[in-house]
Amino acid sequence: MLEVKNLKKSFGDKKVLKGIDLTINRGDIIGIIGPSGCGKSTFLRCLNLLEKPDSGEVILEGDNLVDNKDLERIRRKIGMVFQQFNLFENMTVLDNITLAPTLLKVMKKGKAEKEADKLLDKVDLKDKKNNYPEELSGGQKQRVAIARSLMMKPEIMLFDEPTSALDPEMIGEVTNLMRQLAKEGMTMVIVSHEINFIKNFCTRVVFMSDGVIQEEGTSEDIFMNPKNSKLKNFLSKINNI
């Protein structure tokens, strides 16, 4: 459903992505791992054009997003969850969730609020509806952020280190929610340093280093039978912690 072809991106004269090809099928749960600074976030941000690629294509269900005049409409189909939650701080939880669908005329206000109630129930935050983000814990904020994305009924969700800013005891509530989404068939791309979560959760794992995909395969391939020397090196470092 999402196809990336020869994606390149530089910042100034620093080449961050040097030609990435990846095909994502419906229902895939793809984990992206790699050393810090190898371009994982940049790659994810190129998928919804928060970062404009220098060249290459990002094709979602037949539409190339690069230089697309209809980008705003296509972006609704991509939900992104950020490390720092990026909630609208001056709005209540309910307003955070209903702002986009009502503003973009996807739903009427009444329908949006009903939908929001359902989603808040799903992420177990019904009683926080009228609270402001500053009154929530990190885990609760991230669940609100996920609910906010789900309101737009995305076809695919991108997670950029969704648990890195959380206290350890709150990681579970977010990963459990992600597991639930997976069960419902959501297509997901996840960048995370939680190697065990990636290992147990993802159907496919991509190892990035030096601006290219060094190796990709099933979780088993990558973690049990790594072939690429850089990947072996990366895994041995992790296992030494």
């Binding site: 705003e72 409409r73 609208f88 701080e89 001056n90 503003l103 973009l104 906010r148 737009m152």
Partner: protein
Amino acid sequence: MNKNKLFRNLFIILVYIFLFLPIIILILYSFNDSKMNIIFTHFTLRWYQELIHNQELLNAFSNTLIIAITSTAISTVIGTISAVGLFKYKFPGKNLINGLIYIPIVIPEIVLGISLLSVYTLSKLELGIGTILLSHIAFSIPYVITSVRSTLNPMTSQIEEAAYDLGASKLKTFWYVTLPMIFPGVVSGAALAFTLSLDDVVISYFTAGPGSNTLPLKIYSMIKTGITPDVNALSSIILLITIVVLTVATIYQTKTIQKREMAK
């Protein structure tokens, strides 16, 4: 210990007297029957009545209000857009422009007044309310920019990205997401612009034409002929308006804070 406390209280009282005594005297004398601001004779509302008939003073006051409101509105819009643009976009010469913004704030008003006057003379603009307005807009913009800029930070851009990802256009994101975030800076910038315009003498003095008069200019020129008590009356009214506006703003602020507390 006790002595310390005594000194502290005395100090606070002195500071308050120093700050408020002139204002209290001004209000008192606006009700004084004597034409001289020296001794208090009888209570009267005469100056308030006279004020209503002092067309010149009232004209100057309405000019001042029109200029202050218009220049605040225009400089707030331009200043806010500039601050956001300067924060967001990278372009050659950005650092230079960022630095230059402070120049109108730090150079002496008198220099700014003279330079504005020479620009108007060179471009053959007729001096009057229009040129005063232009000047006030010009000197207010840097204050608005600085004020709005203080509310912008990397988190602001990240939160905007969340809006883009949800499918919002740049315009909608600015209006519904960015503006509410930076609103405190916009309001304080506007308040600053308004007060600066309201009591500006120096720059208005250089850029006003014959016949165009603002209240501060009018009062300033009256020093030579003697300030009449109806100026005290007018000042008291302005003071009252200021206090009412301030009170309303404070109540509004505490209300919103309380509302948030309640939500917990």
